[in-house]
Symmetry: C4
Subunit: 197 residues, 4 copies
């Protein structure tokens, strides 16, 4: 099986997840600066969730680009990832509606953590399919960044009951870490292009 239709379906789900969040945004109760300040936290969580889905799309793009084939297991590993990402608009909404209470902030972190684990599982499966000597396997290697992310999410989740700002710092920190696209893969991709070119 080739990867193109998996990409098309994933693009669809991620494009929808990233766009429908705007339907959840409440407009300010009054058309003045006070109203804007009121919705500002909501807007910031929207930005964070947008960035997260954007990061996943970018990395998914890279991951699939280096994969030549998928199997049934990889399809389900991919659907598992899409499931957790499709929940992001929901957990974002709850966090907003509760004005950043501990439990919803924790649940948002668990959502991010489970998405990250799902991504790792998909990556592992794809590496196994392509083979240990494949470009993908060589591009990922130890995946230190992925492991660090998992650790920081756990800290962020645990911190939610001390202060939600610990969680916020953790979630924003991981996003910042990934916003820089994965150089390893990008290098592999451009290396490939050079070879091909």
């Amino acid at each position: 099986m080739e990867t193109n239709r998996v990409e098309a379906f994933s693009d669809g789900v991620l494009a929808i997840a990233i766009t429908i969040m705007v339907l959840e945004l409440k407009t300010p109760s009054a058309p003045d600066v006070h109203g804007v300040l009121e919705v500002l936290p909501t807007l910031l969580t929207y930005v964070l969730s947008f960035v997260y889905v954007g990061i996943y799309w970018t990395n998914h793009h890279h991951l699939m680009h280096l994969s030549d084939k998928v199997d049934g297991g990889a399809l389900w590993a991919n659907l598992n990832l899409l499931f957790w990402l499709s929940l992001v608009p929901f957990t974002t909404r709850w966090m907003d509606e509760s004005n950043l209470s501990s439990l919803p902030v924790l649940v948002y972190g668990i959502n991010l953590l489970l998405a990250a684990i799902a991504y790792t599982l998909l990556q592992t499966r794809l590496i196994r399919i392509q083979g240990a000597d494949s470009r993908l396997a060589r591009a990922i290697r130890s995946d230190a960044k992925g492991k660090w992310s998992l650790a920081i999410y756990v800290v962020g989740c645990a911190g939610a009951f001390v202060s939600v700002w610990i969680s916020a710092a953790a979630y924003v920190g991981v996003a910042a870490m990934w916003i820089i696209p994965d150089r390893r893969i990008e290098r592999a991709v451009s290396g490939q292009s050079e070879t091909e070119g």
Copy 2:
């Protein structure tokens, strides 16, 4: 006519159906464990519906992969399938809002049953177009799993007035049966790849 644009449109509809369900999810009324328990049944039906649309996407993927051409009748058989799948978010919502009352649980089962019949019709049409000797025809053969699914759905629907747990068992059971991708088709696909490779 080739299958690629049919795939693109179907991917779009399925991606939207699977993702917009999250807009229907009610957030817990309070940011505590009690609130989470309250929405748990809703979350579980969401998971079930997500898995069903995922199963249809996976099988549709396989079905189209083994089909080389479509005709006008197949386009409408496909739209018929998409119609029933696009109703899944609606019947899921009603089932949730009614706290799993008999009638909505029955209607959800009828929705699943009609989607399964629509899939069977599409499959039959595609086999006829590809020919009795095609890879698709050889991959599907007796379609025992498809027939079992229809029978179990009927049991699940009938059971809704005795106990909705009979229905739940039936709906979850069919999903579990299909979550394992269709080995027959997968074998045919990889057989094809071997031949091609």
Copy 3:
């Protein structure tokens, strides 16, 4: 310019228009047969709108299949069509909420009429681009079916103030006429395949 990205974008808009209508569906107020009867008219208008968007998708598919190139004008003619089709969920909703009052039924008909005119404009533009001797031009010829549709829509709109059932008959009638895929184009397409094959 080639047609593939126009197709992709149109597929996206049509897939969303056809799927989000389900978000507008109100669930029955009670989980019993009475509740189901209550929402039945809404469900029937949903089916009608689903079928209409499905017809446009099918015809659009055929139209683009016979077109080899587009220009800026065709892009805007296509966006014009998508605009009217994207309004269908809105006019359907109003018709439902008003329990089929005259004005909303008229507005729904005007929506269908303007979509049909937009389709005709797109078709005319595409024929001009492909040339009078193109496969597309030969496949469409007099377009009697398209002209009949416009006439019946006008009757349906005018009839809304006499009885909304005249309108309903007109709208259902046109849909029934088109549900049978355009044989002319299909013949042209298969003729082409034979030549290519």
Copy 4:
């Protein structure tokens, strides 16, 4: 990296942004002419936002068509553009709900301005990747139209506190200016086709 998956994802986000706005449209409170007049301003802002997203899609289409490759930076420049465009349904809604108050009209203008800046950044990045001698670089050249748009947006934003009609004139004016597809790029595209053909 090639441009096709970036196009697919962008098409998805733009198709959703352009279509979900219809979910925000309030139906008239009564099924009569008075009700229609009531929602007319809302419909007009919907048309304006639809046209804007349509313009961006058309220009994005042209931009990508002249680009042969993208890099990580271009992916994020593209996500930045998609972010601002995905907010358009939200700022449109606020403007409508407030009956065109100064601040929401200003915010809508800022949204358009930031989308325009994001587009300029993406264009600049893509030109740098393709090279100063590329078809894209030659097609864009001074980008006077892009610079004029930014200036007019600033005037429209500033004017919101004098009269929202200044803003309306500015926003409609820029849209009118762009509705005519970018001749420079179109010429470059057709020039390319001639060379290729």
